[in-house]
């Protein structure tokens, strides 16, 4: 009698044990990866939307437009808003690098004729996370993001943009690069260093 009573709950205990070692990590992993995928999707959408808006003439050197990105489009991604500049800071878990490229022709009558140059660069968020590999101009206006002397500064050349997209003569390209670290996500020992990077070019 007593043995039977003891064995009665065995099946459930076994199930709980199986669940503890199998289902709980599985579900935790699914939740973690699910959130990471959702954020990845958000980063994709964010870079795409910001790139599209830039190409439609939205000026992201304006603090109000930056706030729209940080507080709404990037809500939950822990990106730190700039304080009235276009160069970013060293805090927060995300960065957006916005660049406008132009393919200058020979009619430019300038040193950088026949080169792709970066004409605007705006960094929102943590500038230590990512640096755009496309052009490193000597001087950028800290409030407008306009690259100074881009017709003559050889550092403004960004011919390697061709690895992403080929720009026609006198043509423009609006690039939005987003790099985010999901430091609050992970399963100790199993899933670490989660994050997302996406690049959209319009």
């Amino acid at each position: 009698m007593s043995r039977n009573r003891n064995e009665k709950g065995n099946a459930y205990i076994e199930f709980v044990l199986v669940a503890s070692f199998f289902f709980v990590p599985l579900i935790l992993g699914m939740i973690t990866v699910g959130i990471a995928v959702a954020r990845n999707f958000q980063v994709n959408q964010l870079t795409r939307d910001v790139g599209h808006m830039m190409a439609n003439g939205v000026d992201f050197s304006q603090q109000t437009n930056q706030n729209l990105v940080v507080n709404d489009l990037a809500n939950g991604l822990s990106i730190q808003a700039n304080s009235g500049n276009v160069t970013g800071s060293s805090s927060g878990n995300g960065v957006l690098v916005l660049s406008v490229f132009e393919s200058l022709t020979s009619s430019c009558n300038c040193v950088n004729a026949n080169h792709v140059v970066v004409v605007t660069r705006i960094v929102i968020g943590n500038n230590t996370l990512y640096t755009s590999p496309f052009g490193s101009p000597a001087s950028i206006n800290p409030t407008s993001g306009a690259v100074a002397n881009y017709t003559t500064d050889t550092g403004a050349r960004a011919d390697n943009v061709s690895s992403v997209v080929t720009i026609g003569s006198n043509g423009l390209a609006f690039m939005s690069e987003g790099d985010f670290a999901f430091t609050d996500l992970g399963v100790v020992g199993f899933i670490t260093n989660l994050g997302a990077f996406n690049r959209a070019v319009f």
């Binding site: 199930f15 699910g34 999707f41 795409r48 190409a55 017709t151 006198n170 043509g171 390209a173």
Partner: protein, 491 residues
Amino acid sequence: MQDRNLRNMRSMRDKRSKGIAIVLTTLTLAVTLPLVGLGFDVGTLYLVRSKLSGAADAAALSGAQALSQGANASAQRANAITAAQNFFSGNFPTGYWRTSGASATVAVDDTSTQNYRTVTVSATAQAPLYFLRVFNQQMATINVTSMAGRRDVMMMVVLDRSNSMNQIVAGTGQSACATMRTDAAAFIGYFAPGRDQIGLVVFSGSTYYYPPTTSFTTPDANGNDVPSLIASIACQGSTSTAEALYWAYNQIQAVNSSTRDNVIMLMTDGLPTGITAQFYNNRVANSSCGPSPLLGVFAGGTVGGNMFPGGSLGLSVDTEATLGSPNDVAISTNGNCHFAANEGLVSKDIGSLPTQDNFNNSTQGYTSLSPAYGYQQANLNDVTDAQGAVYAAINVSDNMATTIRSDTVLRPTIYTIGLSGDGAVDQYPDPLLLMKMANDPNLAGQAAPGPTFYQQQVNQPHGAFANAPDASQLAAAFDTIARQIAIRLAQ
């Protein structure tokens, strides 16, 4: 007996209970795994669709922008299709999430809508399925469509050819005038021959205009086209900005197209100094000057005392040495006017400045936009006050720009370029005045009364101002404005 039956029943239940954990786990897995699989497949499809949609958007928009590149319609179509394909590939890497067969079909429609061309991108990709294969579905086809368009522009390019442009700029070996000729011609290269309509206004004291045409790069019956006319500009005379703007607006009104984007692009190297007006009623009592109408350009000089030492002042006829044109507003005078022999004797002929210029712009109204310049009200009753004449010239220019921006039907947008440091001992252009004339949104962030002016004209079309600190940066300034207009046209 009862006890035995009870024991048997318990024994049977115990036997059944022994495998229940496996059954429960299996049952749970049977429900969980398909759900995970469905979630994975649907998530993948959603991600691929989002990326594909973004790539199609980028392709359409860049295609629309590329419609400005090319010497004729077919070249522009070809460039648009190439650009769209390039930007599609740039945004949708081959094999993204193991997709296959990603491609974009680009169609350009340049006939359906007047003065508007569209680029439609239909993109497709095959996304692999992993768990839904149990239903014999190996792949899912994703299709997206995106469209963008480019409006044709009706643009008047207004170029300052005042005398101050003639100074040789240190380090360049050439005059600002020569630099402007090159850079302005390059600026024309950003627009689409055959579609965009471009005209030219060249001004100093008087104004020359070349009517807008879609064949702006093709020589007309007289052998003139916009780039060649720009190349032939010779710089001399004062700066009658208001008159130049008037003729630019006049040409926009003559074309009268509300389906085009109407644009005036003004490049100047100084403050407005000239007022074109009827002076007959302002003659001094005993002047023998006449007959009516006494129409001319009154050119002022000094602002800020030492900014323009030895400034000239006078009523004059500006002749067009290179760009001779019947469009000039010519002074009508006779030999009895004192200023006909010597501009400096104008006060013997004219007692005061008129309250408005020949284009109904008030010579009053606008004061001290930029505290650094210290503008004051123009004293119309003192024609010997060269500085006051400049104030009046600023007023008429600003009022002309306001009149143009107030046109709610054609909605012209004004863009301005200010060239400082042209090497001349002259007034530099006031960036804030040019910002106000263009209604640049950055006006809101300037020192008072910039934000007040911005609020006053916030509902008018917004253009942009580009500053060229010296002639070597004029190319970048023209380029910046070309970019702004390109963004505006392709949406």
